[in-house]
Symmetry: D2
Subunit: 110 residues, 4 copies
Amino acid sequence: MNHDMDSCIQACLDCHRVCLATVAHCLQRGGSHAEASHIRIMLDCAQICLVSADFMIRGSTLHGRICAVCAEVCRACEQSCSGHPDGDDAMRRCAEACRRCAGECERMAR
Amino acid sequence: MNHDMDSCIQACLDCHRVCLATVAHCLQRGGSHAEASHIRIMLDCAQICLVSADFMIRGSTLHGRICAVCAEVCRACEQSCSGHPDGDDAMRRCAEACRRCAGECERMAR
Amino acid sequence: MNHDMDSCIQACLDCHRVCLATVAHCLQRGGSHAEASHIRIMLDCAQICLVSADFMIRGSTLHGRICAVCAEVCRACEQSCSGHPDGDDAMRRCAEACRRCAGECERMAR
Amino acid sequence: MNHDMDSCIQACLDCHRVCLATVAHCLQRGGSHAEASHIRIMLDCAQICLVSADFMIRGSTLHGRICAVCAEVCRACEQSCSGHPDGDDAMRRCAEACRRCAGECERMAR
């Protein structure tokens, strides 16, 4: 496995973890943090990042297609976190993980 | 595959779907419906039900251990839904799916 | 939820189940049935079908993007199953589930 | 989140990745490496490790129950890899990741 793919897998697994942790954090804080669309995009992002990692780990020929969609979901999640009116440190970390993962996935995308 | 296992797989897949749909519904309603512990147990239940189904579908020798834990999570989710102070039809349907899945999984448990 | 989406969710969950069962079947049979690329595309298909169902169940705005990729993976899996030199009934059922799921996902794709 | 849980989450994510990579490797090698029961326990292990990580990341109250089952699956996978008649470096690495994850999960188990 080449270095780029290895780095992308790690970024996807990190983003999976950060998104899921941020879901838990935002639900705990409640109010605008627990808004349906915000929680939903983080659940979406956590799930597709894991799948993107798995396709690469398996060496699947279609991994580039999954990475392309994963990058789109990451960008949407980054926006939801960085543009949140009550953004806090947890959300900034989530936005940062999404941004990094989106960049890595875009390099693998087909 | 015997009839009991087939029936349990279907109950798990149904419960996965109902729990995830109820997460979306409760986040949309907000307030006490979107309370962290309530959303979390439904996410837990949706995930372990899918895994329980997958272990049975694969014919894994350890499926009985997963079913045992799945039943516990289903019982906790049933309680969170049926005991909710602002319970609505969606939560009642979720409690019912959890109750049915718990029963099926208990029969497969080891 | 409209009827088309409900039907697509069910097709995805069915395809998830059939692909995973066919993986178990093909590994058991061994030989050409257990060829790496064949098992891998069925694992890919089982996973993305579940994700596609989950995005729709959650009402995610990006579900159409996932459905588009899911349809591609289903088509590749259908081809691997229907074009297999030692195709048997299990593989024919898998190809049929993939074909149906691909069609449903293409209708939801964006 | 305390240090023990953080370390367990990381061990679970590592084990998920190594198991899935070893599935791909063993399918590629074929023969006794692709034996149904061996591939299946690695798929089981990859899946439950991810779930175990997710329960901890979400801060789920039932994570200790999942960790207990995860440890059992990891021990079975470790045995399948370390006891394989044609064991190679990839399998040894997989056995090592399973052993470490089992140990971490046993400390979190309830």
